[in-house]
Amino acid sequence: MAWQWFNRLGSPRWFYQKSSVWMPWLAAISLLLLITGVVWGLGFAPQDARQGNSYRIIYIHVPAALLALAGYYLMAISGAIGLIWKMKLSFLVMRAAAPIGAALTFAALVTGALWGKPTWGTYWDWDARITSMLILLFLYLGIIALSRALSRQHTADKACALLTLVGTVNIPIIYKSVDWWSSLHQPATLKLMEPSSIHPSMFYPLLLMILGFYCFYAWTLTAHTRILILQREWRTQWVQQLLTCNKI
């Protein structure tokens, strides 16, 4: 009984129908959060005492990096569920998450470089945090490449899931790199167990941006998954029906 909802969740058709209701809500909430966060963070939050205005790139850099890491775990867990329960939908979610994660990692690297020039005095240097983040980008790109290299969908799904699972090693390394080794990058500002070292007037817009990025991530992931569902299921009756009714 308890597994019934789980099996239903694995049905691409059920997901496609349900998610068409979620989509506008996710879009509206993420736009609202992101616009409020950007205007508040860039326009109204105070300057930083040391860095002046250049610290404001934190409002993009931190949410992008956070979602790049969290998105990797989501991708790995979807891959594991796909392998264990042979669930079609979770492989599709895994595939859909890869390019989004790659884009977020790239955004975190670029904003970090732009932030590094005015504060550290260099765009790039090979400290543990920056290097491990670059490895994450290559992992994402490798997973995208692997998913397209094998022509048999089922084999490609399994291979990608295994590569993704092996790559999870990198996530705690990225997160802890600034504590384990000496680095150019400063340690984490937002901490789970102790108070964060950012003034509340700068923290609230950052929190809005993080929540906004989470909603935006959910939105793009759902949209991408829906496209992959249509691509893979286009021969089935329910997709053909949608096509004839022009409801896509």
Binding site: A49, R50, A80, L83, T119, W120, G121
Partner: protein, 153 residues
């Protein structure tokens, strides 16, 4: 859970644990190369090679920054709380470079125990405060606390 699924779950867990262990051992073996810079105490202990491009990190000692009258040279001392190291540099310092703040120097250790830098990077900490708040708690010497933790261990 179905036995076949349980088996696949266990196999996946083993895969993740073994690959983590492999990466863990590899980074442990390379631990001295994982550190981005040497602390000044590594120079006092004689662990740093001469005339080789290396990085040093530490806090800029208050009152140690001095400019030469006849050249572009600027001299300052870095410390990790245990040892001090003198650095000479003849280019433009980054904006955030300041006494009692952390800096990373890329350069070569010379015979006389002074590092000739060809690049100086400023490190900033993870605290963000508006100027009014920062003024009211001036003089907090957090730099040393942070820089002496876990560096070059």
């Amino acid at each position: 859970m179905h036995p076949a699924r349980r088996q696949r779950l266990i196999l996946i867990l083993i895969l993740v644990i073994l690959s983590s262990a492999a990466v863990g051992f590899a980074t442990y073996a390379m631990r001295s190369n994982m550190d981005y810079f040497y602390p000044p105490r590594a120079f006092a202990a004689g662990e740093v090679p001469l005339e080789k491009r290396i990085r040093v990190g530490g806090c800029v000692v208050p009152g140690s920054v001095a400019r030469a009258g006849d050249s572009l040279d600027v001299r300052f001392a870095l410390t990790d709380g245990e040892a001090q190291l003198t650095v000479v540099f003849d280019k433009i310092l980054p904006d955030l470079f300041a006494e009692n703040e952390a800096a990373v120097v890329i350069g070569k250790l010379q015979q006389n125990g002074v590092v000739r830098a060809d690049k100086v990077l400023a490190k900033h900490d993870e605290t963000y405060t508006p100027p009014e708040v920062a003024d009211s708690m001036k003089g907090s010497a957090v730099c040393l606390q942070q820089e002496s933790q876990g560096v070059g261990a």
